[in-house]
Symmetry: C2
Subunit: 330 residues, 2 copies
């Protein structure tokens, strides 16, 4: 497997050096692996900190900036960051208004963010946490007890970030984050495995002519393997899975997310099919985002995330955001 | 080769249906394959029309909107759009101030845009054209007499689009477009071949352990094949190629572009190496864009484009833009 890298051991710091060179409006501590919005802490504003294994870019570093995350902690590829990163991030972004940790539900992340929260509180930082567990495909999986956290992370970070940007207090920002997770559901599909730099090849075996329904963002097993399906058939399965589980009674925010290697041309065609199935299920779509936002390195495939949006969430979605990967209104 | 599609024959219209469903601020004629900025024509503003084969997304449809293209004409995958699309687009965006055709240098595109220009002028639309030919890898290639048009297209569309947005007349908008092309250079590298829907598999053969230096955006042959290189070694070759050819004496705009399947994690690491080589060559970087902007379906690899920017081009780069794929300042 050919990769555009130097050596597997330096993939994450190499990427952080690039991130620092390109995004000069962010503060990137390459050695300690913390990305912070320049100017933080912001007086009276709750700080939002997230992080997780690398390989899901632009998540999370690409979402640091006004109206979204205040800091991100990248771990090694598909490996949780360590508590020290999170504690540093919390200290860097706390204005006294407290910090919200946004944690995807993987055992390593959960343990490390828990430990970091204790350490940060020992240092006088008030910490709230939200656990993102939106993936309806399976309960309990490789790396995870309960449901995995995937695409809804983007919605949690954007909507809670908008509330923080408006000066909402910690309990309100945390309540919005919890609400967003409660009303969000995801389902992913893999057409090919992903390859990690350390392994140098595919992390699992997906035979030619088959796909994996309900795959995780590290290539964890999903619900089942089937013979290759059309875009329309895949949309039927993915949308049914999220709609059956959530049963939305209001318009949704929709993320049609690429896993990494699927061309945008295909993603837009898939988005058309997802819209078709949602319309047939009488689910109105308020906003749609199409692109590679929560990826699995070079995996081919896509995921669908819906988030039921009341007036307030819709307003927060439309609020200004200025990050490397998501930007509007400012 | 597994693809997220229905059938190969409907890949482009399927994608356009998705594009129409998602980008409700654009007018998408799925049947006639023309994407137009809503509200066009804009009084007194020059219209910018581009187009080309599909498979390079977000180019060009993703660049329609305020401060960039007024319309785009997508062809079949890796196939020029037809003159009828361009004539319709020109008629839709002409406010009386004229229209600029932005044409990548591939024989089919050149012939069809030439014919469309004649037809549009017969209908009373004043048309200027700019030919983008920034790829320094080879002269004459599959599909192309002279140099191929690649990453500089983004710079031409953004900078000429900003001038049009400010109300510059056609001769000025065209002059900026020509200037941008003159001071831009690109060089691309493939780590894997791309697969077209019609072929259903790789369009060329790139053995394991080898890369193609100077590849074209349709997988056309480049300068040479070599045993796999590190990210740093690739940056040395790519940056040397563009700097030797342009010999910039002012800061540059830099595009570190993914071909489609290369993870963003790798692209940022590559961006760090590109910055390193440019610094060693005493070339200052004014702005950098990293991401998948001018792609080759699911090809793994990257390209480097530099554009020497005087004060005026820098100002136009920073001017507001609001399109699906590029957005800031508004």
């Amino acid at each position: 497997m050919k990769m555009l890298i130097n050596v597997p051991e330096t993939v994450v710091p190499d990427a952080l050096r690039g991130f620092a060179a390109v995004h000069t409006d962010l503060t990137v501590d390459v050695e300690r692996r913390v990305i912070v919005r320049r100017g933080a802490p912001y007086d009276g504003q709750v700080g939002l900190v997230s992080g997780g294994g690398s390989g899901h870019e632009p998540l999370h570093g690409g979402f640091v900036g006004r109206g979204m995350l205040t800091a991100a902690c990248p771990g090694e590829v598909f490996t949780s960051p360590v508590p020290d990163q999170m504690v540093r991030a919390a200290a860097a972004v706390d204005s006294g208004a407290g910090v919200l940790f946004i944690v995807k539900n993987y055992t390593g992340d959960v343990l490390n963010f828990d430990m970091a929260a204790e350490l940060a509180e020992d240092e006088g930082v008030q910490v709230a946490k939200v656990l993102v567990n939106d993936d309806v495909a399976v309960t309990d999986s490789l790396y995870t007890a309960g449901r995995r956290g995937t695409g809804a992370t983007l919605f949690v970070e954007k909507l809670a970030g908008a509330a923080a940007d408006e000066g909402a207090p910690l309990d309100r920002v945390a309540a919005i984050a919890h609400q967003v997770n409660e009303v969000s559901r995801s389902f992913g599909v893999a057409l090919s495995a992903c390859s990690t730099p350390s392994k140098g090849g595919p992390t699992f075996d997906l035979p030619e002519g088959e796909l994996e329904l309900g795959v995780g963002i590290h290539g964890e097993p999903g619900r089942e393997r089937r013979a290759m399906m059309t875009s329309g058939e895949i949309a039927d399965v993915a949308v049914d899975a999220v709609v059956e589980d959530l049963r939305p009674d209001a318009p949704v925010l929709l993320l049609v997310n690429g896993m990494g290697a699927t061309p945008l041309l295909e993603l837009y065609g898939f988005a058309a099919e997802v819209h078709r199935v949602l319309a047939a299920r009488k689910v109105a779509v308020a906003r749609t985002l199409v692109g590679n936002y929560v990826t699995s390195l070079d995996m081919a495939g896509a995921s669908v995330t819906i988030c039921q949006a009341d007036e307030e969430l819709l307003r927060l979605w439309d609020a200004p955001v200025s990050t490397p990967a998501l930007r509007w209104g400012c």
